[in-house]
């Protein structure tokens, strides 16, 4: 295959998807609603409303520069690690899966469908983060991302089922219509919000996001700006009408969002690794969004939507900047870099616009995001405004540190050339940030539309410059002044921030995660040891307690009339004789003489019982018994031929010579046999009563078009059992081929 084919195809898909979605959105949206399993109330319900349009456009739109970047990045990346270029298609396939599942998640209107896409994004991100699979750090990070997001996804499922149990529907629009403010709804919404917070890496789940930086740069860029992390916020926006019903939950969102903004901002200030700075910045920025959703109201939700779009564009470009810089210099730490402005002017200019957007400087689209944030916070009270101010200052400081650290000052490293395909996306995204800073109407329009499904009402989102001394403007000015101050003190600040970060590492939730994982591993090892130490021990562990329980049950059951002895006629003589024969052979089988003899005697018992079935008038059962005994005996002999003779003989000798088991084994056998005998006797004494399942099945058989009851039971009335049994047969075949032929079926 040509190496350009997979990325080109993916690019075309992303571009076409973007254009199609944009066109559909401008045309007023669309809807698909197919009940694909009506008995389970499952519907394939996709709808392109404002919220869906925003996230789907982000997922496809951001994908274009990311894929373009990856096209140049990946061959170099693989060559650096000495891996084959053949691994490229896998990368693009996974990225494509990531994109598609994200679009599906944005469009889903049914909670189960949403859960499906939710987990699909988790799986795709797992495989992408662990793309450098020879690197144990990457594998660990991928597992962490998967565990944190997939375990919390269970909370989403539980919340979904709670709602279904109460209202009988998975459909979100219907739920919004019927759900009232009750404890059930609060608990369910809280569980869903929990899953969303874990996905968006909010405190206390933030640790996975920092680790996930082990992924290749395009993956990080995509995961942080438009996919995985955005999914959490998308879910909050999607189920917002449910969250809104309980003010407690909104307050919890404010707390979680503020904690994340603060922790993320401090950590971003303290980190030296480029991608780490950006990762914690993402986590802080999504804290903004959660905070805004928590503030609620028209301005809060509208600002949240606006924030997500601006962040997606800017953060994607910043990650690509980090990738381009590392490609050019080979360094990935702020302390090793500097003065690249002259060597990489386009990257510097593009990332300046984007960093300014994140830091909310005027003339970029980010400015309006902060204006909206301040407006929403002021509406709730000055405490919230102070919180917002604090965070905005932190953001400005770490963005300034990031950009000036890279592009200003004295050059510290040699910078090689970077392919145009890696530079152009940064420049283009930077240009978008600037243009939207002058003409913010498109961004405002999509944010306005995206806020509508969350509030179930039209929301005005206004983005324009006011040249007066209103509170928002004053707060923005304060941000710039304080931010510059914090940045000026940047020698002291990162040191303090690093101290906080170290404390967090020492006591933080990652420690709980590691300890939990270790404990689970230990438990699993112990259970494994208990279970597989030896076969005899395992059998004993299962059969002995259950045998004791059976015996107890018999002792405690009233016996009067439970054991009937029927009448005996001369016609039953053959039956009794045959049973006696079977018993004698069974006793003979206990005398060890050799493995082959044992197989044959056991087979004889089976054949004798088959005759008993035939005499009892059950030809079907008799036929199966004969056939099964034959084939089992033959296969047994075949398998015995695989074991060397000496081994078989020495095993036999060992059994005979083991003194201790001489009386124990027969005693155990006798007790077990007696118990089963009594059990069967008791069971047979009660036929024909109310619980006569056999009788009912016999009546049903003719209606199922069968004169043969047994076949009707196997293929129709109890077909699910049969399905399970034939699956066991297939698995047995797999097991045999695996053991004997290393998995080759032929």
């Amino acid at each position: 295959m040509r190496t350009w084919a997979p990325p080109a195809a993916l690019l075309a898909t992303a571009g076409a998807g973007f254009v199609a979605l944009l066109w559909l959105w401008l045309a007023g949206g669309g809807e698909v609603d197919v009940p694909w399993a009506p008995t389970l109330d499952l519907r394939l319900h996709l709808r392109l409303d404002g919220l869906a349009a925003m996230y789907a456009l982000m997922a496809t739109g951001v994908a274009v520069p990311v894929f373009l970047f990856a096209w140049r990045y990946l061959p170099h990346h693989l060559a650096e690690q000495g891996r084959s270029l053949r691994e490229q298609p896998r990368f693009y396939a996974l990225l494509g899966l990531f994109m598609v599942s994200m679009v599906g998640l944005a469009l889903a209107q049914d909670l189960i469908l949403l859960f499906l896409f939710w987990d699909l994004t988790a799986v795709a991100s797992y495989l992408l983060i662990a793309y450098d699979r020879q690197d144990p750090e990457a594998r660990r990070a991928a597992l962490m991302a998967l565990l944190v997001t997939a375990i919390s996804a269970v909370a989403l499922l539980i919340g979904t089922l709670l709602l279904y149990d109460r209202y009988g529907t998975f459909s979100l629009p219907e739920l919004f219509r019927v759900a009232e403010s009750s404890t059930t709804v609060t608990v369910a919404a809280a569980l869903i919000a929990l899953a969303a917070l874990a996905k968006s890496a909010q405190v206390p789940f933030h640790f996975w996001l920092g680790r996930a930086m082990a992924a290749p740069t395009p993956v990080s860029a995509y995961l942080h700006s438009a996919a995985m992390v955005a999914a959490g916020v998308l879910l909050i926006g999607r189920v917002y009408p449910l969250l809104e019903r309980s003010p407690v939950l909104l307050d919890a969102l404010v707390v979680a969002g503020f904690a994340s903004m603060l922790v993320g901002g401090v950590l971003a200030l303290s980190r030296d690794d480029l991608k780490q700075v950006l990762a914690y910045s993402t986590f802080s920025q999504y804290g903004y969004v959660v905070f805004l959703y928590g503030l609620g109201g028209e301005s809060g939700v509208g600002a949240a939507a606006f924030y997500v779009v601006t962040h997606a564009v800017a953060k994607c470009a910043l990650f690509l900047t980090a990738g381009a810089v590392t490609r050019a210099t080979g360094a990935q730490r702020l302390s090793e870099l500097g003065g690249l402005g002259r060597r990489m002017p386009v990257v510097a200019a593009g990332s300046l616009a984007c960093a300014a957007t994140v830091a909310s400087l005027p003339l970029t689209v980010g400015f309006f995001a902060d204006e909206l944030l301040f407006k929403a916070a002021l509406e709730r009270g000055w405490v919230f405004a102070a919180m917002a101010l604090l965070i905005a200052v932190l953001t400005l400081a770490y963005m300034a540190r990031f950009w000036t650290g890279l592009f200003l000052g004295a050059p510290r490293t040699e910078a090689g050339p970077v392919p145009a395909a890696m530079v152009a996306p940064v420049g283009a995204l930077g240009a978008i940030c600037l243009i939207a800073g002058l003409v913010p109407a498109p961004f405002a329009a999509i944010a306005q539309d995206a806020a509508t499904p969350s509030l179930l009402a039209a929301v005005p989102v206004e983005a324009r410059y006011y040249l007066d001394l209103r509170a928002e403007n004053l707060l923005a000015l304060a941000t710039f002044a304080l931010g510059a101050l914090v940045y000026a003190a940047h020698r002291a600040v990162p040191a303090a921030a690093a101290a906080v970060a170290r404390l967090g590492e020492r006591l933080g939730p990652e420690r709980a995660y590691t300890a939990g994982l270790a404990a689970l591993n230990g438990l699993s090892d112990r259970v494994h040891d208990l279970e597989v130490r030896d076969f005899r021990g395992r059998v004993t562990a299962i059969f002995l307690p259950s045998g004791v329980l059976f015996a107890l049950a018999f002792v405690l059951t009233p016996t009067l009339g439970a054991y009937a002895v029927g009448s005996f006629s001369l016609g039953d003589l053959p039956l009794v004789l045959m049973l006696g024969f079977a018993g004698c052979v069974a006793v003979a089988a206990t005398r060890p003489r050799g493995h082959l003899t044992m197989v044959l005697t056991l087979g004889t018992v089976g054949f004798a019982l088959a005759v008993v079935y035939a005499l009892l008038g059950a030809p079907n059962v008799a036929l199966v018994a004969v056939l099964v005994e034959t084939i089992v005996a033959l296969l047994f002999i075949g398998v015995l031929s695989l074991i060397p003779r000496e081994v078989l003989r020495s095993q036999m000798r060992a059994t005979r010579e083991r003194r201790g088991t001489r009386f124990r084994d027969p005693a155990v056998g006798l007790v077990a046999g007696a118990t089963v005998f009594v059990l069967v006797w008791g069971g047979l004494s009660r036929t024909g009563g109310e619980g006569d399942a056999a009788g009912r099945l016999t009546e049903l058989a003719p209606e199922a078009h069968a004169d043969n009851v047994v076949t009707a039971i196997l293929a129709d009335l109890r077909a699910l059992d049969t399905l399970g049994e034939i699956t066991v047969v297939a698995v047995a075949l797999l097991g045999v081929t695996k053991l004997l032929r290393r998995g080759r079926l032929w």
Binding site: N708, A732, L745
Partner: protein
């Protein structure tokens, strides 16, 4: 190796055994027998060939090579029979035509999905046994040569 008489008799027995197996399968719903028994009978017929003629000759002269794979295809088929009703809004493993309705018959064979399910059981059992016999035989040969 077995004597000429045994080999010839085994050869001659194969066709009748398979016919009996098919009969057991086809008549399963009206007479003694079902897919499982039919599968075991057919497998015994092929096992007889293995025992008397040896693995190599059997696999050269009879098209048994694809039977283990067919077992898994049959499992898929059974699953399809089980799940298709879901698409029509019925519980899984609902058979068509439904209880009490008229069934087209070809001789003793009734055309309904339960029979297809039974046929899948037949193929699966046959394929699984042949696969296991083949695996044991190959493992034995490998042990002999080393």
């Amino acid at each position: 190796m077995s004597s000429v008489v045994t080999r010839v008799v085994a050869r001659m027995l194969l066709a009748p055994i398979l016919v009996v197996a098919i009969a057991i399968l086809v008549k399963g719903f009206t007479d003694v027998g079902d897919g499982f028994s039919a599968g075991v009978v057919a497998a015994l017929g092929i096992l007889l060939q293995y025992v008397t003629l040896g693995r190599e000759e059997v696999e050269r002269t009879l098209p048994v090579r694809l039977l283990p794979h067919a077992a898994f295809v049959a499992l898929l088929g059974a699953l399809a029979v089980a799940l298709v009703p879901l698409l029509r809004g019925d519980p899984i493993l609902t058979h068509y035509p439904p209880a009490g309705a008229e069934v087209t018959t070809v001789g003793k064979l009734e055309l309904m999905t339960a029979v297809a399910f039974d046929a899948a059981v037949f193929v699966l059992v046959l394929g699984a046994v042949v696969g296991i016999v083949h695996a044991v035989a190959r493992a034995y040969e490998e042990m002999e040569t080393t």
